[in-house]
Symmetry: C2
Subunit: 136 residues, 2 copies
């Protein structure tokens, strides 16, 4: 397991990482990638339709995110040169295969979130009540 996560540089600075999990997390972990992938899961969508569904994403971020995802082969971009040009985005096979482990993670998150929320609240309250941290 030490071989999998080894010697990462910080977030995107030195991306000379041979670490696959950090690689995928750097892509997936950013603010919008996962959200976009999930929105695309039911079926292909055009740019503005996608924008409407995600709805508080800026058009810049959607654009950037889509290019990243396309670069990694997770989504495909198809241009139909009609009157107003039409562009459709869709999950590739790779993108769909990613949804499986991500789904597992989502399930974990859903299941454990209540606990985490409570733990977090308790932690915060404890810290608030005695600002003189008795930790050391």
């Amino acid at each position: 397991m030490d071989a999998v996560v080894s010697r990462i540089s910080s977030r995107r600075r030195l991306h000379a990482h041979a670490c696959p999990i950090r690689d995928v997390l750097d892509r997936i972990g950013d603010a919008w990638s996962l959200l976009t992938l999930f929105t695309l899961e039911p079926g292909p969508l055009r740019f503005n339709e996608l924008r409407r569904r995600v709805d508080d994403i800026s058009q810049r971020m959607l654009s950037v995110t889509l290019r990243q995802l396309e670069r990694d082969g997770l989504v495909s971009r198809t241009v139909t040169p009609t009157k107003p040009p039409q562009v459709e985005y869709a999950l590739t096979e790779l993108g769909q295969s990613l949804m499986v482990p991500v789904g597992a993670l989502a399930a974990w998150a859903s299941a454990k979130q209540p606990f985490i929320q409570r733990h977090r609240a308790a932690y915060d309250q404890a810290a608030e009540e005695n600002p003189d941290d008795p930790s050391l």
Copy 2:
């Protein structure tokens, strides 16, 4: 699936998110959390030992990361008040349970990374060869 990922605000600004998956990704997706969790998986470690293993993490980031993880109940912090105080960090049961879906994701990443790498390289080269993007 639309209920799971809904209406996220940007990264950490408005964390009024009821979205569990984004919640967990915000924790896991940052530069050091996962790396720390993996390093802690074999067994409990003290602060500086942990620091040595992760080795290019700054002490500040290790400190911050550990506090976040403790807040969420993923790691525990145990202080033994000996001569020089001794502090041990360990995965909680929750932390260990997280390693399962994360492991699946890591496996996916390992398996698909060669493909992604090639796809990425091809994409970059194509973009480099004709800077006049024929996209629209």
